[in-house]
């Protein structure tokens, strides 16, 4: 059933992702971005994708490289504009990509709602702003809230630090960011990790993503990037 499978290659790990899928892609800027899974997705050639991610790519690596293929129909994100997000910028200006802009906390909370079986929730963020347009407003104890709906993924592609063979995950520092919540919100969660450690070697008190949320694991050679470039 839901037990995690460990794969040897990213190409094998992402098998089955179909045209038209909604894919949650982890990372905040470059920290926690699943570069190797994205590269495999580019090689695979899947088209007409909706990508949910905090940013819309940097330079020409990771998500930016995927956008460059022209196979992404829509991006749902909080902060597409960055100093080196020129690939997204060009696609957006030329009308070749659709953007749904969501405040960062709503992006996270809407995915949490999807993973937690919450049908919708009233959120104070963005009340009275242009991003409130078309949303239901409700006053609760004198404060206004907007009704927000879950964001679900067909797949989540995330990057974690270590996995055990069951699929329990731990992360590193602020690279944790969207991985844990995306893992709960997708039908199939695929995690690239720096290391698969033996069963029992992760501290049960310190597991961040329990195995139930992880379907596929693939160990990769760690590549980490700063905004200044690859390290």
């Amino acid at each position: 059933m839901s037990k995690a499978q460990v794969f040897e290659s990213c190409d094998a790990a992402i098998e089955g992702i179909e045209d038209g899928s909604t894919i949650l892609v982890g990372g905040f800027g470059l920290a926690g971005m699943p570069f190797d899974l994205i590269d495999a997705l580019i090689r695979q050639g899947t088209n007409d994708l909706t990508i949910v991610s905090n940013n819309a790519g940097n330079s020409e690596v990771g998500l930016a490289a995927l956008l460059k293929t022209g196979r992404v129909r829509k991006v749902v994100c909080s902060f597409p504009r960055q100093p080196d997000s020129y690939i997204f910028d060009d696609l957006y200006r030329s009308g070749e990509i659709e953007l749904e802009l969501v405040p960062q906390g709503n992006l996270a909370e809407r995915m949490r709602a999807a993973g937690a079986g919450i049908g919708a929730f009233y959120c104070p963020t963005a009340v009275g702003t242009p991003l409130a347009e078309g949303r239901e407003v409700r006053t609760i104890e004198g404060r206004d809230y907007l009704l927000e709906y879950p964001i679900r993924g067909d797949y989540a592609l995330i990057s974690a630090h270590k996995a055990d063979p069951m699929g329990n995950l731990v992360y590193r520092k602020t690279a944790r960011n969207f991985g844990p919540v995306m893992a709960t919100a997708a039908a199939t969660t695929i995690a690239q990790v720096s290391e698969v450690v033996p069963l029992g070697s992760l501290d049960a008190e310190a597991v961040v993503t329990p195995s139930i949320y992880v379907d596929r694991i693939v160990p990769v050679d760690t590549r980490r990037y700063t905004v200044q470039g690859a390290r």
């Binding site: 059933m1 839901s2 037990k3 993973g115 079986g117 329990n168 049960a204 329990p210 139930i212």
Partner: protein, 226 residues
């Protein structure tokens, strides 16, 4: 809504009638349920009889047990010096942890349940309706002190809900009923009923008898009605 045997549905298999023996004991029933839980499933076993299903899950099957008080990959009940008051199951019985366990708080544990991540949960019941309504938290008696715990969350959250119960009350009335008369735990949430006399699939249109013990399909139909 009708009660029928598998053969009447013409799906290639027939209802198995075990007429050479009596009804299942609780242990035997637990073993039957364990046999039907797919390998590698994430499973929650309710307080009471359902916890006995764990005794019949082989370690090779790799079934991962969830306990709603905040743990995945729970191990067997703790004995002697292994008893740790900080490590219990949902019935507050001291248990153990297996390699690959993870702890989490109540908000995360119930998010996991409500979000549909558990493959199977096995719950006890006072009554189940033909359409899968479940009553297992309150007898409806005025003097009873109500207590619901995680029953309603489990009933609504799990991908599949199995009920484990004796089929008849002490006075011989069927607990699988056209309409539940006890206060409800959840609506249309039970997929399958495992009882001492028979197992039933509850589908949108029918109650399908899968297997019987110590009673024939026709006799069973008469006792259940309608």
């Amino acid at each position: 809504m009708t009660i029928r045997s598998i053969d009447e549905a013409s799906i290639g298999t027939a209802t198995v009638e075990h007429l050479d023996r009596g009804a299942l004991s609780t242990s035997e029933l637990a073993a039957v349920i364990a046999r039907d839980i797919p390998d590698g499933s994430f499973v929650n076993l309710g307080i009471g009889q359902p916890t006995r299903v764990a005794d019949y899950l082989s370690s090779e099957a790799g079934v991962v047990l969830h306990t709603e008080n905040g743990m995945l990959n729970m191990g067997p009940a703790a004995q002697g010096l292994d008893v740790d008051p900080d490590l219990t199951n949902a019935g507050k019985v001291p248990v153990t942890e297996l390699p690959g366990a993870a702890y989490f708080d109540q908000a995360d544990s119930f998010a996991m349940m409500r979000g549909g991540h558990l493959d199977v949960c096995v719950l006890g019941a006072f009554q189940v309706s033909f359409s899968g309504d479940l009553a297992n938290w309150h007898t409806g008696q005025l003097e009873a002190i109500p207590a619901v715990g995680g029953a309603m969350d489990l009933a609504m959250g799990s991908k599949v809900v199995f009920v484990m119960m004796s089929l008849f009350t002490k006075t011989g009335a069927s607990k699988l009923v056209p309409t539940v008369t006890y206060p409800l735990t959840g609506v249309s949430c039970v997929s399958r009923v495992y009882s001492d006399y028979a197992t039933f699939d509850l589908t949108a249109d029918d109650v399908v008898i899968r297997e019987t013990w110590g009673i024939s399909v026709s006799a069973l139909r008469k006792r259940i009605g309608p």
